[in-house]
């Protein structure tokens, strides 16, 4: 086992008595790409923090190159060649690319003064090494997400690491950018650097890794060569049970009904042009496209957040002006935003308030809230959507990701929405809750006759849940697929062909 770089042995880490890691062992060999799979809250990030020296394990040990340590400090971890690229990249938006790249090195060399020429040289070399074209004098705030990630990778490589830990690196990237990143990751591997790829995205893990470990509830439940796994086995290990996936069928009623949502000639300068779409009650229409294709802008426009648009939007045949969020809501449009935590929820406020946020105006006389009515509505919503909580007084931040998403859905059901727009409905939701949320959305579409528009990067998610998928590119709807006669592969191929 001379090729083992890092070995976690029987690590236990408790937080106020609760075991976040329970007897976790993980072996990373030199020059391998290793995936650590697990749902949110399974202990993935605790493993990272033990490896990078942020947390000190309560028992167990960490062996590096065969030498055993009871714990590492952050400095020791870096000195042993362990580098972490966090989800937020830990870059300084107000500083230039060059300085971001050079800061680590300058600090490690215990420099007191800054030599700007050497900063530029260091940065130039780091960027060249990665083979990317980024202006080192640019401020990081001006870069795209993918650009920032490349800077973060370039920075990590500057210290000649032995192990690069990447925490959910693909979350904010488009498919195209993910492929670029994978190419770079393989290139890094070719230099003998190990990579620990922490993720919950099945297909990416299967694609990139050589070996795979699955963590669930703080315990390692599976480990082995990636070729031993497929999606369903990973899901079973991650969740502890099987999850069936059926596709969604929608049958047009015998007597034709008018569409719930009808868009014609919708245009927003610089974002999208001349869009037309009809969605009938009970339909779930997927909207797919690369980041920057205009899909999010369409959703925002339908929700009254882009008042500059032209064209008509009809709901049940009635044209509605969408110049403000309030008019969109009054017209029966509901929007579940992309980032649940920063755009969807009031984390420290109670579940009740989160559910009722949008309809307070409607249950108030002269602005005075009808409290019994509010309590009843909240309680019945919690019941209807099976939100797991003893009471609605609890802060919503204490709920799991899946339950939080239900709270957001509950809010919109109370508005008696007719059109539900979902932007990345299961981003950051663990696999178990994901299936549950899909079921809820499908049921709602059927029971309430909602017209659902679902935007997602996860094409499988669309194929499984939509009866139609519209592909968007450069601000236009370029193709429509009936899900019944298409496959994930066809849509993926189409998206890859763009650009």
């Amino acid at each position: 086992m001379s090729d083992v770089f890092l070995d976690l042995r029987n690590v236990v880490k408790r937080f106020s008595g609760v075991a976040a890691l329970d007897d976790v062992s993980l072996t990373i060999r030199s020059g391998e790409i290793h995936c650590l799979a697990g749902e949110n809250g399974s202990g993935k990030s605790t493993v990272i923090k033990v490896m990078s020296g942020v947390y000190r394990p309560d028992s167990g040990s960490i062996a590096i190159d065969g030498r055993t340590h009871s714990h590492l400090t952050p400095i020791e971890a870096i000195r042993h060649g362990i580098q972490v690229i966090y989800q937020d990249f830990s870059l300084f938006g107000n500083l230039t690319v060059a300085e971001n790249l050079a800061l680590n090195t300058e600090l490690r060399n215990k420099r007191k003064l800054v030599n700007w020429r050497s900063v530029r040289d260091l940065a130039r070399r780091a960027l060249d090494r990665l083979g990317v074209d980024i202006d080192p004098e640019q401020e990081v705030d001006e870069l795209s997400t993918a650009g920032r990630q490349l800077v973060a990778i370039a920075r990590a490589l500057m210290s000649d690491p032995r192990l690069l830990i990447m925490d959910e690196p693909t979350t904010a990237l488009t498919r195209k950018e993910v492929e670029t990143m994978f190419r770079i990751v393989r290139d890094i591997q070719a230099h003998g650097i190990s990579i620990l790829f922490v993720s919950h995205k099945m297909r990416e893990m299967l694609e990139i890794s050589e070996r795979l470990s699955v963590i669930r509830n703080g315990r390692m439940v599976a480990e082995g060569p990636t070729s031993n796994f497929d999606e369903s086995t990973i899901v079973r290990h991650m969740t502890g049970h099987d999850i069936s996936s059926e596709t969604y069928h929608w049958k047009a009623p015998a007597t034709p009904t008018p569409p719930r949502l009808e868009i014609a000639g919708l245009t927003l300068a610089g974002a999208f042009e001349d869009l037309a779409l009809s969605v009938h009650p009970g339909e779930i229409v997927g909207l797919s496209g690369l980041l920057g294709s205009g899909r999010t802008e369409v959703a925002q426009a339908l929700f009254g957040l882009e008042p500059g648009h032209t064209g008509t939007v009809r709901i049940d045949g009635v044209p509605v002006p969408l110049d403000r969020v309030q008019t969109a809501i009054d017209a029966g449009i509901a929007y579940v935003p992309e980032d649940r935590l920063t755009e969807g929820l009031f984390l420290t406020q109670s579940i009740d308030r989160n559910i009722l946020a949008t309809i307070y105006e409607r249950i108030a006389d002269w602005s005075v809230i009808d409290r019994p009515k509010a309590a009843n509505l909240a309680a019945s919503s919690i019941k209807a959507l099976q939100i797991a909580t003893p009471t609605g007084d609890k802060p919503v931040g204490e709920l799991s990701g899946g339950n939080q998403q239900r709270v957001v859905l509950a809010r919109w059901l109370l508005t008696e929405a007719k059109v539900l727009i979902l932007n990345g409905p299961t981003v950051g939701v663990d696999v178990g809750s994901k299936a549950e949320i899909h079921r809820i959305i499908r049921d709602l579409a059927v029971e309430k006759g909602l017209a659902v528009v679902m935007i997602s990067d996860d094409i499988l998610e669309l194929v499984q849940n939509c009866n139609r998928i519209v592909v968007m590119h450069r601000g236009r709807f370029v193709e429509t697929f009936e899900t019944a006669d298409t496959s994930e592969q066809r849509i993926s191929d189409m998206l890859t062909s763009f650009k």
Partner: protein
């Protein structure tokens, strides 16, 4: 009765900060009584407090309203002074100094109050405009507007205080009603009203939600711009009420009256459990905090500490609160 008891318990559960504050009031009372038994516990002492603390209490509630959305209002003192001064000028113009001295002008006081409140609302609307429409950070917007308001007050008076207000105006600051100090009764009414406004109305709940997560508020369809704008209008009106109380009590208005109240209002709001980052804070907490600190001040005054030393103690208290809050959060 049973229902009532339940309400109290739920209030305490929801906010153990209030229990803590009440505990603090008790501790201050006990210590001060121990240090100066004959003077501190006198009825006169408490009665004089009921004339003094309401101004600061109203200003602190104003600060709470601004902080609920994660803002701050550094212009409240300027607003208070400018509205009192304008009322004073109004009286002088329409009744005249001699008229006021001879007791005239009682009827016109109502108009003066309307005028003051309008000035407060307008000043608050100016802040709200800067913050919501021009998107200036609240701290800078109110820093600048506070200078402008104080400056206008200075220009209007030319420096010296405006002396001589109608008798009815003085009554607001010095009078008695049902055996209680008028400012005190006024404070109770305002506190109850604001508590109702902030917890039972769409306006108040919206402010708390906006303060917790402004972005999510937009996506939830709350009219963020309008609500924040209105919150500064409310802050401005509360400040002008404080101005009326202050000028009523002292029978004078000046551009630099009550400048030390600014720090104290921030301190009391924070001490009362308001989160300066927004989303959290109660009128009850702020009200108890102002009473606690006024008791503390009056105790030290009885012990013959100078006013400057009391400033020192207020500052020390603010830092102490920070330390206590930090430890409280750590245990959580």
């Amino acid at each position: 009765m049973g229902k009532h008891a339940f309400d109290v318990r739920s209030l305490i559960n929801r906010d153990n900060n209030i229990v803590q504050l009440l505990g603090m009031v008790v501790v201050i009372m006990v210590v001060m009584t121990f240090l100066s038994p004959d003077k501190f516990l006198r009825y006169y002492n408490f009665e004089s407090l009921t004339y003094l603390f309401p101004e600061l209490g109203v200003l602190s509630i104003a600060m709470l309203v601004a902080m609920l959305t994660g803002g701050i209002d550094l212009s409240i003192i300027g607003i208070a002074n400018v509205s009192a001064i304008l009322a004073g000028l109004f009286f002088h113009h329409f009744v005249g100094r001699e008229g006021i001295a001879s007791g005239d002008g009682t009827g016109i006081v109502f108009l003066g109050i309307v005028l003051s409140l309008t000035i407060g609302a307008a000043a608050g609307a100016f802040n709200g405009f800067l913050i919501t429409k021009l998107r200036v950070t609240p701290i800078l917007a109110t820093l600048g507007s506070g200078q402008v308001f104080t400056g206008i007050a200075l220009v209007l008076t030319g420096g010296p205080a405006i002396v001589g207000f109608p008798v009815a105006w003085d009554w607001i600051g010095n009078g008695k009603i049902f055996g209680l100090a008028v400012p005190f009764v006024l404070f109770i009414v305002i506190a109850l009203g604001m508590a109702f406004l902030l917890t039972r109305t769409t306006f108040g709940v919206s402010l708390q939600l906006i303060g917790t997560n402004p972005k999510a508020a937009v996506y939830a369809g709350l009219d963020k711009t309008r609500m924040i704008f209105l919150s500064y209008v409310a802050t401005g009106m509360l400040a002008s009420i404080a101005g009326i109380m202050l000028s009523g009590r002292t029978n004078a208005a000046k551009s630099d009256y009550g400048t030390s109240y600014l720090l104290q209002a921030v301190l009391i709001a924070v001490l009362g459990g308001t989160n300066p980052a927004g989303g959290k804070g109660t009128v009850a907490g702020v009200s108890i905090a102002v009473i606690a600190l006024m008791l503390l001040s009056s105790g030290f005054q009885i012990l013959r500490f100078s006013n400057h030393l009391i400033d020192f103690i207020w500052g020390a208290f603010l830092l102490l609160v920070i330390v206590i809050n930090a430890y409280k959060n750590r245990n959580r």
